[in-house]
């Protein structure tokens, strides 16, 4: 065996990961693991996934150098991996096509998914339309209000969107409700999990489906002159980040930096920076870091970005943090929105607010490293869904509308 850190198989990443779920779901998770283990080495499956990536998603996604933005980042060279240009507007489609194909192989006819910002829900509804699957999306009620446009998109695609009014009415409660649906309907239903968290096999499987980001980006950077000094990506559950890191894990000279949502600031308690402000615990089926009180009750998270507003984080990130291979930086709402404004105004690229957290990390790192540094930032999604929220933040809505 090699000492490669890439593509770790799970169920455990160091002491994190595992499978902490009701017995009722164990058979389904075993079945899914088994189906995935067979599919990943089956040329019929991998070939179909590659075809969809090319002809449907639009892969490979391009890399764009952004010099006018980089002028604010200490003169470093900044490159963006453009997952925002994928069909449906984010990296989420990479994972969803894989899991939807697996659903067909399992002979199941219905998919369920949770969504925060709505990007994973839109991607799942899209794949369900493409592959003729019944589709139900659970979304926190607060998020349905923050992301009304994506709710409409999912409904247009034929999905049923169920607003979840329990608990904090955000992503975490949507996941709870999706698990409850799955326990009840597991015979016909596959849970298309949106991030690299949850019980095994999801963290490893979602990472594998998102790995294409770093595989492509690594080749693209080499063709552009060499490996970057750092790769930056935003982290909520952490699927775009783990996909952005994986192919670089064995490149010791490449720093890997996950940008967590620090909301109003980690010291205010109103944040979603799990690796900065959390500690080990079990949530949503795996052992990782979570935001919790001394009794183990999950604490509400806060972020301007619905997609990062989650009090847990994928177990592989916790492991990479624990062994020092990746760093996790808190980025506040205000920093992210400044980076959002800057990229939009200097480059004409409107990022998702989630992705703007990674851009803010690049501004900070570039100013630390100075000219000569090369930074690769994953632009995980586009900001069309965030127009109203950003306009409100910058006070740009017509009077009387705000």
């Amino acid at each position: 065996m090699t000492d490669s850190l890439q593509s770790a198989p799970g169920p455990y990443f160091g002491e994190f990961g595992g499978r902490f779920v009701p017995e009722a779901l164990m058979a389904a998770l075993d079945e899914l693991t088994d189906a995935y283990d067979k599919a990943r080495i089956d040329p019929a499956f991998t070939g179909e996934l590659e075809r969809l990536a090319r002809d449907y998603t639009g892969r490979p996604s391009i890399v764009t150098e952004v010099p006018r933005f980089a002028a604010h980042a200490g003169g470093a060279r900044v490159f963006l991996k453009r997952e925002d240009l994928n069909h449906t507007g984010s990296h989420k489609i990479n994972n969803v096509l894989g899991q939807a194909l697996l659903t067909k192989r399992l002979g199941k006819t219905r998919v369920i998914a949770e969504t925060g910002a709505g990007q994973h829900g839109v991607a799942t509804a899209t794949a369900a339309a493409l592959m003729d699957l019944e589709c139900v999306i659970y979304m926190g009620e607060e998020d349905t209000e923050r992301q009304a446009l994506n709710v409409a998109r999912m409904r247009l695609l034929g999905a049923e969107v169920i607003p979840v009014a329990t608990g904090t009415r955000t992503l975490r409660d949507a996941i709870n409700e999706a698990f409850r649906d799955w326990v009840t309907n597991v015979e016909t239903t596959n849970y298309v999990f949106g991030t690299a968290a949850g019980p095994h096999p999801f963290p490893a499987m979602v990472r594998d489906f998102q790995r294409v980001i770093s595989v492509e980006a690594r080749e693209q950077m080499l063709a552009l002159g060499g490996l970057p000094d750092a790769v930056l990506a935003c982290v909520g559950g952490g699927s775009n980040a783990i996909g952005s890191f994986d192919a670089f894990l064995d490149d010791a000279g490449v720093r890997l930096i996950g940008c967590e949502a620090a909301g109003d600031g980690v010291d205010t308690g109103r944040h979603a920076a799990t690796l900065t402000g959390g500690r080990p615990g079990i949530l949503h089926g795996s052992m990782s870091y979570i935001l919790q009180d001394e009794d183990g009750q999950t604490q509400p998270s806060h972020s301007i970005s619905a997609g990062l507003d989650y009090p847990g984080v994928g177990p592989e990130h916790t492991w990479l943090s624990s062994i020092g291979r990746a760093e996790y930086w808190p980025v506040t709402d205000a920093e992210a929105m400044e980076a959002f404004r800057l990229l939009t105004r200097t480059e004409g690229i409107l990022p998702a607010i989630e992705s703007a957290h990674a851009l803010a990390g690049a501004l900070r790192l570039g100013n630390e490293l100075g000219p000569g540094a090369t930074l690769l930032v994953t632009l995980s999604g586009r900001g069309d869904k965030d127009v109203e929220q950003a306009a409100r933040w910058f006070d740009m809505l017509p009077e009387g509308d705000a």
Binding site: G18, A24, L25
Partner: protein, 262 residues
């Protein structure tokens, strides 16, 4: 043997199934929930499941979710669950705890078992913890002679049925239907099937939970199971108003149910 198996065997010797009642501590407030647990014992529960509320109860339906959320809003602590265990023991029933995994992990697997024993509790039901997922818990529980009560479901494979029944102490908690806690109109054949599968895998005592809400259902299940577990129907009877008399009437109905079967 344990206080729990002794009690289940005593019920069997009386020619009936045991009635196991669940209530979350802290609903509608801590004092009322303790009084409600005393009502459970007085009105005929043999075993009381004390639920420390948890913020993310994935195996619970709307009624128990509501109760847990209200209890947490009221400031309930995990310590209160051990007070409730002591209350149940003093009232004369066998207390067990039904806890989600993170609540146990944060206290520490060993300390959780020790605190339970100190309060007079007999075992722990773990809805989101299977025996293969947490050998540390099984080890800590064995060290303190705490019964480890695991769940089996209709989807449980034969191999997992064996693994789960082997690791269970006290009883095996069988859920007859796929789904979360809550009342169901009909349980019937599915309940009988999962009980016989658990017995075939070597389970000596099997109790049926999830979905039981009426005396008639209790009577039906008591015909083939060692115990009938009732949660949601009791929580609903107690309600936000903490109606102890309505709760007493419901418990009495179910207690008559388990006694009318054989």
């Amino acid at each position: 043997m344990s206080a729990l198996t002794d009690r289940l065997d005593a019920c069997r010797a009386e020619g009936r199934a045991a009635l196991v009642g669940y209530l979350p501590v802290g609903y509608p407030d801590v004092e009322t929930s303790l009084a409600a647990m005393r009502v459970l014992v007085a009105a005929g529960c043999d075993v009381v499941e004390v639920g420390p509320p948890y913020s993310d109860p994935v195996l619970d339906g709307p009624m128990i979710q509501h109760a847990a959320a209200k209890a947490l809003e009221g400031g309930v602590k995990v310590d209160d669950a051990f007070t409730a265990v002591r209350t149940v023991a003093d009232a004369g029933a066998v207390p067990v705890v039904m806890s989600y995994a993170n609540v146990m992990l944060q206290r520490g697997w060993s300390r959780f078992a020790q605190d339970l024993v100190a309060a007079g509790g007999a075992g722990v039901i773990t809805p989101d913890l299977t025996p293969d997922a947490a050998p540390e818990w099984v080890e800590a529980a064995r060290a303190e002679d705490v019964d480890t009560i695991f769940l089996v479901a209709p989807s449980t494979t034969r191999e997992r049925m064996k693994l789960t029944c082997d690791a269970s102490r006290g009883f095996v908690y069988a859920t007859p239907l796929m789904g979360v806690t809550g009342e169901r109109a009909s349980l019937g054949d599915a309940a009988q099937r999962v009980v016989s599968e658990a017995r075939a895998a070597g389970a000596e005592r099997v109790c049926i939970g999830v979905g039981v809400s009426t005396g008639a259902q209790a009577a039906e299940i008591a015909g083939f199971a060692d115990g009938v577990i009732v949660g949601t129907a009791f929580v609903r009877a107690l309600g936000d108003e903490g109606d102890l008399e309505r709760l007493r009437a419901k418990v009495t109905e179910l207690a008559e149910g388990v006694r009318s079967a054989r």
